[in-house]
């Protein structure tokens, strides 16, 4: 069993395994003296080779780390995964996934809109909602809206109706938006990779989505009011796509696509309100 001091010496030489590395970093995090020892070991190495310079006594690491407290922690999945050559990302399948995702969203929207329509039925009509008990999820809440409406759930009858939860409220907002007043795009990006151009610009209830393509690959840029985004700031990777989320004032920008992380980050940084 190695001591922590022994491990930081070996770490300096790149002679520790993954397990020892993780353990050593944990120990350094818990013991500031170990971190200082690491610093002194490096100063000694420089001095030994006659490379010592000014600023040997200075330690700016606390200031740097304090400034970085608000910075996102890089998501492990981005780097832990090796490129998977066996699963090339084909544009056709990507587009199909996009289309299928939109179809699912549209279906949900349609159901919601139809459901909302039922709420506006005249009082003389008394619709019954027959829902299998197993399909009642946490997203659906029962509430008493009066005697005129009745729902039946798998043999259970009550004078309740099914009310949409807050999670589905966004689709009502979307519906109201679609049938409401027209808006003009408020956001654009000052920079995009060479060869790409904007192919779609959708205005949503709480933001906008821009899609850029170069004929082969595509990426999308979502700008949402803060609080409406699905993810915190940071980076993630899934299904061959990079997703970068960043705050821009009181808005949140998310870039998703099959582009290098650095490019996605640059695009996100280049998004700005239209002048």
């Amino acid at each position: 069993m190695h001591t922590a001091n022994d491990s930081i010496s070996a770490l300096m030489d790149g002679e520790v395994g993954e397990f020892e590395l993780r353990r050593t970093l944990e120990q350094v995090a818990d013991d500031p003296e170990l971190a200082q020892q690491w610093r002194r070991y490096h100063v000694a190495r420089s001095a030994l080779k006659g490379e010592a310079q000014a600023g040997l006594k200075v330690d700016i690491s606390a200031g740097v780390m304090s400034a970085l407290e608000q910075e996102p922690v890089y998501h492990p999945s981005v780097y832990d995964r090796e490129p998977d050559a066996a699963k090339p990302q084909k544009p056709v399948s990507r587009w199909w996934r996009s289309v299928s995702s939109m179809a699912v969203a549209a279906s949900v929207t349609a159901v919601v809109i139809l459901g909302a329509g039922n709420f506006s039925e005249s009082p003389s009509q008394t619709p019954n909602f027959y829902l299998p008990g197993s399909s009642v999820s946490g997203d659906l809440m029962r509430t008493n809206l009066g005697r005129s409406t009745q729902a039946t759930v798998a043999g259970y009858e009550s004078p309740d109706v099914i009310r949409l939860s807050d999670g589905l409220k966004k689709y009502i907002d979307q519906h109201q938006h679609l049938v409401g007043a027209q808006r003009v795009p408020q956001w654009s990006t000052r920079w995009m990779p060479e060869g790409y151009s904007i192919v779609r610009h959708e205005l949503l209830p709480h933001g906008e989505v821009m899609v850029f393509a170069n004929g082969r690959d595509a990426f999308s840029v979502s700008v949402e009011e803060l609080g409406h985004q699905s993810l915190p700031e940071g980076v993630a990777q899934a299904d061959g796509y990079i997703a970068v989320g960043k705050r821009r004032g009181d808005h949140f920008v998310t870039v998703v696509g099959d582009v290098p992380l650095m490019i996605a980050d640059r695009i996100a940084s280049a998004v700005q309100p239209e002048q």
């Binding site: 010496s9 030489d13 100063v43 000694a44 200075v58 890089y74």
Partner: protein, 195 residues
């Protein structure tokens, strides 16, 4: 120490940062801060200003780290960020950056007659000399097995396995000897480096 083994050691920490471990970046800062401050000090003459610029350079490096793929050594990459940060700082203060850059390979050995000033104060130069003297004296006084192990590591850049072959002992013994040698030196320089 060879550049290759240094780069391999850095890469281990860089990967940890990229995997979400900020603590690993703290070690990289502690490892390179004196070199980066020294480098920036050749552009930004005020020591406090130089420290601020060095801090900014490390923050920029952290932000850019997702894009670092290890095509060059980490220090080379960090060095470029530091130089650019220093130059941008001078431009933002309406001061002209020097026309001559310090080459990354020569950054440690820059001639003081260069157009880039070496702004070490006499006190700092004395302090640096004293530190180097203590380190080298302590090394000379170490038992031979410790001194040889550390020398082969630091000056020849040999791996623990190669040193074990040369010294005809187990790898674990090499590791222990190098650690004990560093401990002995650290004991002597710790008071000098204390704030």
């Amino acid at each position: 120490m060879s550049n290759e083994s240094q780069a391999a050691s850095d890469q281990v920490l860089v990967k940890r940062v990229q995997a979400g471990d900020k603590q690993a970046f703290d070690l990289l800062v502690k490892q390179y801060q004196h070199k980066i401050i020294g480098l920036i000090g050749r552009y930004v003459y005020d020591p406090h200003e130089a420290m601020d610029v060095a801090q900014e350079a490390f923050i920029k490096a952290y932000r850019a780290l997702p894009g670092f793929r290890g095509d060059s050594a980490f220090y080379t990459w960090l060095y470029r960020i530091a130089i650019n940060t220093a130059k941008n700082h001078l431009v933002s203060r309406s001061r002209r950056p020097p026309d001559v850059d310090v080459d990354v390979d020569d950054a440690h050995y820059i001639d003081t007659d260069s157009e880039l000033r070496d702004l070490e104060s006499p006190e700092r130069a004395l302090y640096r000399d004293e530190l180097e003297r203590v380190v080298k004296t302590t090394l000379d006084r170490l038992p031979e097995d410790l001194r040889v192990a550390l020398t082969l590591r630091e000056f020849e850049g040999m791996s623990y396995e190669d040193i074990a072959n040369v010294m005809d002992c187990p790898v674990g013994t090499v590791r222990s000897r190098i650690f004990r040698a560093r401990e002995a030196i650290d004991k002597e320089i710790a008071p000098l480096l204390a704030n």
